[in-house]
């Protein structure tokens, strides 16, 4: 069973956020980047577990510039067999998805995994786009996956509940918390990753469909109003009269 895992690079959450070019571009100077946790902890690790049980290999794909190689090497250190990087600093999710789908069409993967969203833009768009471009079913927000021959049983996380379904054949899966346990790369993995293939391929032609016109930073909070712990009536009064939320 061959699995393609899509990985992306995001700023570490603790990173300070600033913008440049008249507030139309994210300023990445001095920012520490990490592999998107949903891709790394859940999608990649579950893919590795499945191939460890059933045989096959895990290929990771990233759409991005050479500076992304660091997260790709980490995925290889965690256990992926090989990697593909589509060499373009993609301007939107459509360009990312089109390039992933183009690569997937050129190979035969049984399953395609990615994280449920990135932690910077929380878009959740790429998985659904790839599924549609490849005309495949899409199992999103998956917290549990069992594979039995050609059939998969997935549990999807929904608002206020969950849904269990069965899918025959190939599909795209977006991974949520619970699907697997994070793996920390060991020394041997890190050494081996250096010699694993990382194929850089040229992007296909695709035009961005959206763009950021402006970034703004929300105004700072006015400051916290401290309430005497023995006067909860006062807190209730403020929540009612001042904040008007109860």
């Amino acid at each position: 069973m061959n699995i393609l895992v899509c990985i992306s690079k995001t700023p570490d959450t603790t990173a300070k956020i600033s913008f440049k070019s008249d507030d139309t571009e994210y300023n990445s100077d001095g920012v520490t980047f990490i592999m998107n946790p949903y891709d790394e902890w859940y999608a990649l690790v579950r893919a590795l577990e499945i191939t460890e049980q059933n045989g096959g290999s895990v290929t990771v794909i990233n759409v991005g510039p050479a500076s992304n190689d660091i997260v790709i090497r980490k995925a290889l250190a965690i256990g992926a067999s090989d990697a593909v990087r589509v060499d373009i600093d993609a301007p939107d999710s459509y360009v990312v998805a089109s390039n992933i789908a183009a690569h997937a069409k050129s190979k035969t993967y049984d399953l395609i995994f990615l994280g449920k969203e990135t932690i910077d833009y929380n878009g959740s768009e790429v998985g659904a786009m790839v599924a549609e471009l490849l005309d495949l079913p899409y199992a999103s927000y998956v917290t549990k996956l069992d594979i039995n021959g050609n059939q998969a049983t997935v549990t999807r996380e929904l608002e206020g509940g969950e849904e269990v379904s069965q899918i025959d054949g190939s599909f795209v899966l977006s991974a949520a918390k619970g699907l697997a346990e994070q793996r920390i790369p060991n020394m041997k993995g890190i050494m081996m990753a250096k010699s694993k293939p990382l194929n850089v391929v040229a992007p296909i032609q695709a035009d961005a469909r959206v763009h950021v016109a402006k970034y703004t930073v929300p105004p700072a909070k006015a400051g916290v109003k401290m309430i005497d712990p023995d006067n909860m009536d006062e807190l209730v009064r403020l929540l009612h009269e001042e904040a008007k939320v109860i």
Binding site: A128, A131, E132, V164, Q166, D168, D207, Y215, L235, V245
Partner: protein
């Protein structure tokens, strides 16, 4: 070119997020000088009631293959209705199922896609719309380069407005063939308010010491009619169910009121809650970082403060 709203109806009923989408779509339609049409899939009681939120017509689609959700099949249905009504904007809720289709529909309709918008678009001289990015540390205003648009609306971004009256429902049978996904079971959590929809949330962290102490949190939540949430270590230790975990790696919520009890306020926690309208922090440590993100703060032992707050809420409600 009308605006099409897809209104979800889990279990045959609309939810608050559905009324938000109906309201959002009607307002977008008004700004674009057109009408808003709603589409519902499967059996729903009173589908025409969406007219109250400004929808001018409701199309209800039924078909053997539409009993359970399959993003591939539902996408075909929605794009066929979209073409039929001659829409150029499709609006859905930012729910698990909405998000599973937004990207698919963008491909099928050659549309630009913005998911999780938090405000109405600006339509003066174009179409731009904003969403919260970078863990709530910034807002991005997007422009859409294509004539067609697919948008998902973040919960609690707009207040549902019910001012109009019910409208006619056009029933339609569509069978575009079954999908490859067979739903075998749908489980819903018993009782309580689902967290992503809740307007009031009481959340607690490691300061609670153990799961046996959650009674005071549940009492406060029930006095307020609030949903309960928790920090990640609490869910990881199985003190509370995973669906209550809020933050960067859990659910992102934007209630009107978020009460944080015994939570330090780590940046990864704030990422999921800092779009809340009002934040109350109860913590015994005056240096807890959460106070910087709070509107109201109480420094004290939660085991004493929370029962007092519950009593004060009850007193207020009984007045």
């Amino acid at each position: 070119m009308s605006v099409l709203a897809y209104i979800e109806s889990p279990g045959g009923h609309f939810k608050k997020s559905g009324f938000e989408v109906a309201t959002y779509a009607s307002k977008v339609a008004a700004a674009l000088n057109t009408n808003a049409v709603a589409v519902v899939i499967g059996k729903v009681e009173n589908a025409g009631s969406l007219g109250q939120y400004g929808i001018s017509k409701v199309i209800q689609v039924n078909g053997d293959s539409l009993v359970n959700f399959d993003s591939q099949v539902f996408t075909k249905v929605l794009s066929s209705i979209y073409q039929e009504v001659g829409a150029n904007t499709l609006i859905m809720s930012h729910t698990a199922n909405g998000k599973s289709m937004a990207g698919r529909l963008a491909i099928r309709l050659n549309a630009g896609c913005i998911s999780g918008v938090n405000a109405l678009p600006n339509t003066s001289g174009g179409f731009t719309v904003s969403k919260s990015v970078y863990s709530g540390k910034a807002t991005a205003t997007y422009g859409i380069n294509t004539p067609d648009r697919v948008i998902t609306v973040m919960g609690n971004s707009i207040q549902p407005q019910s001012t109009g009256s019910a409208v006619d429902v056009e029933n339609k049978s569509l069978d575009l063939g079954g999908g490859k996904v067979k739903v075998v079971e749908v489980k819903s959590e018993e009782g309580g308010v689902p967290l992503p929809e809740a307007e009031l949330v009481v959340s607690a962290g490691r300061g609670m010491k153990g799961p046996e102490n959650w009674g005071i949190i549940e009492d406060l939540a029930s006095a307020l009619g609030a949903a309960t949430a928790c920090s990640r270590p609490v869910a990881d230790a199985d003190w509370r169910p995973h669906h209550e975990h809020v933050g960067q790696t859990g659910v992102a919520i934007r209630p009107n009121l978020y009460i944080a009890v015994g939570i330090s306020g780590a940046i990864q926690h704030l990422a999921g809650v800092n779009n809340s309208k009002v934040i109350v922090v109860i913590n015994k440590d005056p240096e807890a970082p959460f106070f910087k993100a709070a509107d109201y703060g109480v420094v004290g032992d939660l085991f004493e403060v929370v029962p007092k707050l519950t009593a004060a809420i009850k007193k207020y409600k009984n007045q």
